[in-house]
């Protein structure tokens, strides 16, 4: 069966970039031209289920793609068997329920799907996720949501070390405890950890906000406590409720951590300007 997509040629922009000017490439009226290759129009009312047990990683991901290309918008995958790199690179809306556990690098590089995992995930779940939601009912491994760019990534259990390392946007919520080096070099986004967290929290973070419900092992370099605002409390309550989570002592009891910005040393000059001066 031929695979149909909304793919159209992106073309090459010939405009020259200069100085600090920003080129506006993505005009709303041209949005249709900028959809991803292999992004599919799906119908949430069209449901399919398949057994991943006997399939290899590649076969499982191809099966998902095949179902999406046929318009299935709700897919149930059973027996994933902790295989690695499952449900990756999904670039369209999809309701995906995974009954079981994933191995490493599950749900990476996704943009749009809502994924619900009834088991556990290994290292690097939802790495570089752009949009959508990933909800894990049990525990997760280290580097959870590394380089996250958008969307909501939720683990209702405990997670390992380096949660949200290098995250650039989106929201990570952890219902239990987390390990060391969470939020290392975080650049943007929000991280909520309801339990205890290990040492060096937010080490070298540039920006973004971390909220912690339990004890903090230690703060990393340039991570500092900050005052919580009423708006943030409202946001936290709303967000936690959305995923059936609760902060035992109320959202306003969370500790807020942000960047002290003492490590900021950005160069204000463009490379061309720098050459002129130097």
């Amino acid at each position: 069966m031929p695979v149909t997509t909304k793919e159209t040629p992106l073309g090459i922009h010939a405009e020259r970039l200069s100085g600090r000017s920003q080129q506006r490439f993505f005009r709303p009226e041209e949005a249709a031209r900028f959809t991803y290759p292999q992004a599919f129009e799906v119908d949430f009312n069209k449901q399919a289920q398949f057994d991943a047990g006997p399939l290899s990683t590649r076969e499982i991901n191809l099966k998902l793609r095949e179902l999406m290309s046929e318009g299935f918008g709700t897919v149930i995958m059973t027996n994933p068997g902790a295989k690695h790199a499952l449900a990756v690179g999904i670039l369209n809306r999809l309701n995906l329920r995974i009954e079981g556990s994933l191995g490493y690098f599950g749900c990476g590089l996704i943009d749009g799907p809502n994924i619900h995992i009834t088991g556990r995930v290994g290292w690097s779940c939802a790495e570089n996720m752009l949009a959508g939601t990933v909800v894990i009912e049990k525990n997760a491994g280290s580097t959870f949501g590394a380089a996250l760019r958008g969307g909501d990534l939720v683990c209702k259990g405990d997670v390992g070390a380096r949660v949200g390392i290098d995250m650039k946007g989106g929201t990570i919520i952890v219902g239990g405890r987390a390990g060391a080096f969470c939020g290392f070099m975080m650049q943007r986004g929000r991280m909520v950890i309801l339990g205890d967290v290990g040492k060096n929290l937010g080490d070298s973070m540039y920006d973004g906000t971390i909220y912690v419900g339990g004890k903090i092992g230690s703060l990393g370099v340039d991570a500092i406590p900050a005052e919580m605002t009423a708006l943030e409390v409202q946001w936290l309550e709303r967000k936690l409720k959305q995923y059936g989570l609760e902060c035992p002592r109320g959202a306003n009891s969370l500790q807020k951590i942000c960047a002290g910005r003492q490590l900021w040393n950005y160069d204000n000059l463009e490379p061309a300007e720098k050459k002129l001066i130097l």
Binding site: A82, R120, G122, A140, G141, A161, G179, A180
Partner: protein, 311 residues
């Protein structure tokens, strides 16, 4: 990137040979060069199991005279066992170059190991009351078939799939490492120790010797030395987190225990399944799933964590 795995039956025993083979087969992609097992079988008072190899696998295809040499070395080992007063109860040829001797021996294990190791081309892989250490080139299926490990009944085991990065692809560099010459202590390790030479020299000054240049062997000898000085296994492992530098996760097995330690950076993976009757650990959950196809709860041990489970 190597793969490590461990399991222990609590209060019972099982086919640890087949269980560990299933786990290591699932970790083959982490290290296809060699595979090793430290299996803990039934302990018999007054008896020891000695596992030795008298040549490397690749030696067997080199030279016209290798089979005669191998035979001579085996005879010499048997002679030396007899000379030391060991009663040979069982003598099994696992491969052309690897042998298993079950002996009755009341003497010093260090003297025994040193005297056997002195035979040209010989490496003592393990000596123990329950421990049997098997390692060879190839994946878990090959090694298991070669050494007939299916059906090995025991209480616990650790295993390793190796991707050679800094030393040769041979049996000497394969894991697990026996803590020469301490009976029944073996280690598998994933990671790198950055103070290997300092640690090794310190232990050599205390009279210990090393059979390889692999940093994992240091962990085994370090822990055994601490235990010999009176530390508990857990205590020795706690100290190792302070004294061993680098990124590592290791598993250690003794006659009746299985231990796990993760360095303070938590840079190397480990997944743990824990129930009242059975504990399984592996670099990847897929290895644990290979022996538990049904849904189970697993977790990642945290940085700086030490755990010990007794049989």
């Amino acid at each position: 990137m190597c793969g490590i795995a461990g399991l222990i039956h609590r209060g019972s025993a099982g086919d640890v040979g087949s269980e560990m083979t299933s786990m290591l087969k699932s970790l083959k992609h982490r290290g296809p060069d060699s595979t090793g097992y430290a299996l803990y079988g039934e302990r018999r008072t007054g008896e020891l199991v000695v596992r030795v190899k008298v040549a490397e696998q690749q030696d067997m295809s080199q030279g016209f005279d290798v089979r005669r040499l191998v035979k001579e070395r085996r005879n010499e080992i048997q002679r030396r066992l007899h000379e030391l007063g060991a009663k040979l109860l069982e003598d099994t040829q696992a491969t052309e170059y690897a042998y298993r001797f079950r002996i009755e021996y009341a003497g010093n294990v260090r003297d025994l190991a040193n005297y056997l190791e002195d035979v040209d081309g010989t490496e003592v892989l393990s000596i123990g009351h329950g421990l049997e250490l098997i390692k060879d080139l190839g994946d878990a299926e090959q090694v298991s078939n070669q050494y007939s490990l299916a059906g090995f009944f025991g209480t616990h085991a650790i295993g390793h799939t190796r991707m050679a990065t800094e030393s040769a692809v041979d049996i000497r560099s394969a894991h697990p490492y026996w803590a020469y010459p301490f009976a029944d202590i073996a280690v598998v390790h994933n990671g790198q120790l950055t103070n290997y030479w300092n640690g090794r020299r310190a232990l050599e000054r205390r009279g210990h010797r090393f059979v390889s240049n692999c940093d994992s062997e240091l962990i085994a000898v370090y822990l055994a030395d601490r235990i010999a000085q009176g530390a508990t296994l857990e205590g020795a492992m706690q100290t190792s987190l302070e004294e061993l530098d680098g990124v590592f996760t290791y598993l250690v097995a003794t006659a009746d225990s299985l231990g796990m330690a993760k360095d303070v950076m938590a840079a190397k993976p480990m997944v743990l399944y824990e129930s009242e009757r059975f504990i399984a650990l592996a670099s990847e959950e897929v290895a644990i799933r290979s022996i538990f196809p049904h849904e189970i709860d697993t977790s990642d041990p945290y940085e700086g964590q030490v755990r010990v489970w007794k049989h």
